[in-house]
């Protein structure tokens, strides 16, 4: 029996529920040297903004117990060069392409989305309303339900692509935000972006990141991510995409049990470039072994 790993978001059908997370996979090219990208459910690009961004001063990353901090500062080529230079490569892939969009004002989000409209090779958009590393906008959209609603609504009104809203975990009540973006027309929600964190170089008496604070990712945050996915999935009707510290098939299955229809691998790509495809394989094997016909049968099947 070959288990059915396919999943749908909006009208888009993915061959399997494994995506690679924004900012950890560039625009796909680099990891294409390591494995056949078409084996993935989909690729999410680095966040794209209206204008190119150089990003923050180095050092931009540091390691923490079972995790890492990053303050890349949304460094990216900007929407124009993305379409010219990066999309052609992605367009030639058979895997689904999700363009992650960020901005520092609703107008910027709308402008980027408009420019992406109708471009061949794009299957969905992921709207990052949760980046902790930019001063204006970014995270603030993600921490207030009204702002989150307005931002997603504006994007919804200006795009025909299915929309995933990527939420910030740095909030008191994730469900409130999730309901707001669902109401605004999001087709799915992805949780979680990074937690705000900081590390200090005692010797130098300085922060380890030039930006002082950064975003915490990796296995350290998995418990936080699982809790948010579990709480949200039971409250919204649209699919939830889970991420945060997923390093292997077992982690992925835990998110699926907690209610995630799909999962993303972020930091895991750095530890093992083939982490994501190994999970695709692992899910297949698990379903075969446990005689599960469709992976969707597992979603939210946690016994509580």
């Amino acid at each position: 029996m070959i288990p059915d790993l396919s999943v749908k978001i909006g009208k888009v059908k993915f061959s399997n529920p494994v995506l690679v997370a924004s900012g950890t996979f560039g625009y796909g090219e680099e990891y294409g040297a390591f494995f056949d990208l078409n084996k993935l459910g989909g690729i999410i690009t680095k966040s794209i903004t209206l204008n190119p961004r150089e990003g923050h001063l180095p050092p931009r990353t540091c390691e923490t117990p079972s995790g890492m901090l990053n303050a890349i500062g949304l460094a990216n080529v900007g929407v124009k060069r993305f379409i010219q230079e990066k999309l052609p490569f992605l367009r030639n892939l058979k895997t689904k392409v999700i363009v992650n969009v960020a901005g520092s004002s609703i107008d910027e989000y709308v402008e980027v989305v408009k420019r992406l409209e109708g471009k061949k090779g794009i299957d969905l958009l992921e709207i990052n309303i949760s980046c902790p590393n930019v001063k204006q906008g970014g995270i603030t959209f993600g921490s207030d339900p009204k702002c989150a609603y307005d931002c997603i609504k504006a994007v919804r009104d200006n795009s025909t692509y299915p929309i995933i809203a990527k939420l910030s975990p740095n909030v008191a009540d994730i469900v409130e935000i999730a309901l707001a973006v669902e109401e605004a027309g999001a087709d799915a929600i992805s949780l979680i972006n990074t937690l705000v964190g900081m590390a200090i170089d005692l010797e130098a008496k300085k922060p380890r990141l030039s930006n002082i604070t950064g975003g915490l990712s990796g296995p350290a945050i998995k418990p936080v991510a699982l809790a948010m996915v579990w709480k949200t999935a039971s409250k919204v009707k649209i699919p939830v995409i889970g991420l945060g510290g997923i390093m292997n098939t077992q982690d992925a299955l835990e998110f699926i049990l907690a209610g995630a229809s799909m999962i993303q691998v972020g930091t895991g790509n750095f530890v093992d470039p083939e982490c994501s495809v190994k999970i695709v394989e692992g899910l297949k094997e698990y379903c075969q072994e446990k005689k599960i016909k469709k992976i969707t049968d597992l979603v939210g099947k946690l016994k509580t």
């Binding site: 900012g23 680099e30 990891y31 390591f34 180095p58």
Partner: protein
């Protein structure tokens, strides 16, 4: 899909001095492909502490033996774990990564500057030149360390016949002071040609900052190999950047070898 996650086999672990280790690893793929300047990204164990891979320059390659070497200093948990590995263990590697040094012409002079562990990639470069029958007398190697017991591979270098310049910060052997000072003196005294000469440097950032300033001033054709914290090592995360006159560049993918005159170190 020309790159793969390689599984190397550890052949030997040598302790070359206080906290200094050399690993010999069997991997036909890497031994075949690695060029001087390339690095490998290595997972020290399967646990999450440490979580991320660690980068090390390719230090030496023995193509016939299908093996290559790493040379490193224990500075933290990752290198500590690595130093305790035993022959026969498997090593999870991504390699060869990054760009490589561009070679001099046969008739050019070569000047290399290594500070501490900066010797790792430069030693490989020198070996490659000698193997390609470059004249050892046209190769000058400046090697600086803090104190004399940090010297490494000096005998190996002496026996090749290249011109060796040694310095220790504490003056315990050779020139007393930073290797860049000795280098600068030799330059100013015009004991080093700058025309038709290729310069190469690797070492701690403060040293490379000096080298890059000198290179701009004397218009040296100088390549430096940089270090940076590298989450992915393959160019995907944009985490390891260095500032250059052309904007931020990824050390792992656009480097680790850069033109010294273009890099802006702070």
């Amino acid at each position: 899909m020309n790159q793969r996650n390689e599984e190397g086999l550890l052949l030997s672990v040598e302790n070359l001095g206080e906290k200094l280790f050399r690993l010999k690893i069997y991997s036909p793929e890497i031994a075949k492909k690695a060029l001087p300047g390339n690095f490998c990204h290595l997972r020290v164990n399967e646990s999450y502490s440490p979580l991320l891979r660690r980068a090390f320059s390719i230090h030496q390659v023995e193509t016939e033996k299908n093996s290559f070497e790493l040379l490193f200093k224990v500075v933290g948990p990752g290198t500590q774990i690595l130093s305790e590995k035993k022959p026969g263990e498997k090593i999870d590697l991504l390699a060869p990564l990054g760009n490589s040094f561009s070679f001099p012409e046969k008739d050019e002079n070569t000047v290399l500057l290594a500070g501490g562990m900066g010797i790792a990639p430069l030693f490989y470069l020198v070996s490659s030149l000698l193997e390609k029958k470059f004249d050892p007398q046209k190769i000058s190697f400046f090697f600086g360390v803090k104190k004399k017991d940090e010297y490494l591979l000096v005998n190996d270098m002496v026996s090749t016949g290249i011109r060796l310049h040694l310095a220790t910060e504490d003056g315990s052997s050779g020139y007393k002071g930073m290797i860049t000072e000795l280098f600068f003196q030799e330059l100013r005294a015009r004991r080093l040609k700058t025309k038709r000469t290729r310069f190469y440097a690797c070492g701690p950032n403060p040293m490379l900052k000096k080298v890059s300033e000198i290179s701009r001033k004397f218009k040296l054709d100088c390549q430096i190999s940089l270090e940076s914290h590298m989450p992915c090592g393959v160019g995907a995360c944009i985490g390891c950047v260095v500032n250059t006159i052309k904007g931020y560049k990824r050390v792992c993918k656009d480097g680790p070898v850069f033109d010294a005159r273009e890099v802006i170190l702070d």
